[in-house]
């Protein structure tokens, strides 16, 4: 984020005649909320959107206004919630599966020079391929239940965790290793007190990246072979040209994505507070 631009904070060169703007800034600063301005922008855009829809009489099935979206969303809340929990469960299970396989896997590869030399280039190559293309095959194999969604999600989440895990477990300053050896650290102490803490910041980068992919995996699998879940619900709703409900469903999906991302970020702050706090001082 680039919020630390010195030109923003102390804009002393600006003409002093802009008292009104300074006043607004002072109020915003007094409120102490950096989010006030984006929220105002957001509300402004919503009003603008509604006005355009109303003035130009855009047909509702084509592009509904925010009021309609909110109304339909509230109306359909029970149904959305029903599908919401399905998608949330698929995404969470898939993510967990990826973590459970990828973290130990990355540890093994990082500890074995042979495995790393043979597998790492291939893993990087696989990371760059569009893995969603596997979704139809997974569904052909596993059918229409929860399992194919979990597997597709896990496939998407796997690589970022694996690669960052390998990088994390590998990238250690040799001097730290020598130091702890000469202090007589045992192998398990080396792992718990040196290697793992050293790897965690990079590992969490991968975990956060994967967190934003989890929902994508579940939704794509539901698009293709679903009988339940927000992805399936969205497709059926759009087949009936109910764009207002469709946008409400997308909003619901976004909350899952955000919950995943901020959930992992919260865990990160719990697990490696020493790193997160340092990063903040440095300004990321």
């Amino acid at each position: 984020m680039d919020q630390r631009d010195p030109r923003v904070a102390g804009n002393t060169t600006e003409a002093s005649g802009r008292a009104a703007r300074t006043g607004v800034r002072w109020i915003l600063g007094w409120l102490g909320l950096p989010f006030v301005q984006p929220i105002l922008t957001f509300l402004f855009l919503l009003v603008l959107w509604q006005l355009i829809i109303t003035i130009f009489a855009v047909p509702q099935y084509l592009f509904p206004g925010p009021i309609e979206v909110i109304q339909r969303g509230i109306q359909a809340t029970p149904k959305i919630w029903d599908n919401y929990s399905t998608t949330l469960r698929s995404a969470a299970l898939g993510y967990l599966l990826a973590v459970v396989v990828a973290v130990p896997g990355s540890l093994i590869i990082a500890y074995s020079a042979f495995a790393e030399k043979s597998l790492f280039p291939g893993l990087v190559l696989l990371h760059m391929t569009p893995k969603v293309t596997l979704a139809p095959i997974i569904i052909a194999w596993l059918g229409f239940g929860v399992l194919p969604k979990v597997v597709v999600t896990a496939l998407l989440c796997f690589m970022p965790i694996m690669l960052n895990g390998i990088l994390g477990f590998r990238s250690i300053d040799p001097e730290i290793v020598y130091l702890s050896r000469s202090c007589g650290a045992r192998p398990w102490e080396m792992f718990w007190k040196v290697r793992l803490p050293n790897a965690l910041p990079i590992l969490f980068t991968g975990l956060k990246h994967a967190a934003s992919l989890a929902l994508v995996g579940a939704v794509i699998a539901e698009f293709i072979g679903g009988n339940h879940g927000l992805g399936y619900y969205l497709v059926t709703v759009m087949d009936n040209m109910q764009t207002d409900l469709g946008l409400a469903i997308m909003t619901a999906m976004t909350t899952i994505g955000l919950a995943f991302f901020f959930g992992i970020q919260f865990i990160e702050e719990l697990v490696i507070p020493w790193h997160v706090s340092k990063r903040r001082v440095e300004g990321r």
Partner: protein
């Protein structure tokens, strides 16, 4: 990067190539040994023969999907970089919209697919637009960060050396922003295929996504896997093509950078 001799490079490369060969051989032998039915998992050799024998019917779909992905990516580049530049010049725009864009970036972009198909039909447009949406955000956010984060000292140096406004722009701003811009471009290039193919899965009259689903519905798993390999080749070509452009456009930066540090 340290320059390796040819023999050393060959030795380095022999490990991953060997691993791939072993994996394919295990697959081939395992499928034949355990008599796995062809419609569940075909051996690699029959995927290759099936893919080659049907190459003439895959090719037109190959071009369609490549076209959709390219058009979406190029449109995203043309819109996102100038927009990122504009935002870098205005702190008002940045403070008003930047958090909003970060928030919208968390919306699962592929969820626009059903809506786009309702609006634009079964043709190529919804695929291009979805690719555009998928590619836009990484380019925009990274190029804005790149154009904004210019060291004050460079600007001061340029000023005191008497650089004109356009010189400041071309020689300082663009120069120092490009590494960041390319981070976004590479992320976008890696996901361009995803956008095109997901939209094709949902509704299409042409393209590899449709071809894949047809093959699978005929239980022709060998052709299906061959189609997926084709999609992966396009995806990798996009990513490595962009990496190539990067290493040409900012060679001063790429050569300074360590080899494996970056994982998207």
């Amino acid at each position: 990067m340290t320059s390796l001799s040819l023999a050393e490079r060959a030795r380095e490369a022999s490990y991953p190539v060997g691993a791939a060969v072993v994996a394919l051989a295990l697959w081939e032998v395992g499928v034949r040994l355990f008599k796995v039915p062809r419609f569940i998992l075909p051996p690699p050799t029959s995927i290759v023969t099936e893919g080659l024998s049907r190459a003439s019917s895959i090719t037109p779909h190959f071009w369609i999907t490549s076209y959709e992905a390219t058009a979406g990516l190029v449109a995203a580049i043309l819109v996102a970089i100038p927009l990122g530049l504009t935002f870098s010049y205005s702190s008002f725009l940045r403070r008003s919209f930047y958090p909003l864009f970060v928030f919208i970036d968390e919306v699962p972009k592929i969820a626009f697919a059903p809506i786009l198909i309702t609006w634009f039909g079964f043709g190529l447009e919804p695929k291009m637009i979805l690719t555009f949406i998928v590619c836009f955000f990484p380019i925009f956010l990274n190029s804005m960060a790149g154009f904004s984060a210019i060291e004050e000292e460079y600007i001061n140096l340029g000023r005191s050396a008497g650089a004109r406004e356009w010189e400041m722009f071309w020689k300082i701003r663009i120069h120092s922003a490009l590494p960041n811009v390319f981070v976004g471009l590479k992320m976008a290039a890696a996901s361009a295929m995803t956008g095109a193919v997901v939209a094709e899965f949902l509704a299409a009259d042409r393209g590899l996504g449709l071809f894949l689903q047809k093959a699978l519905s005929q239980l022709n798993m060998a052709l299906g896997v061959a189609t997926i390999v084709t999609m992966w080749v396009i995806g990798l070509a996009f990513f490595y093509g962009m990496t190539l452009i990067e290493s040409w456009a900012i060679r001063w930066h790429v050569s300074k950078r360590g080899g494996r540090r970056e994982i998207l």
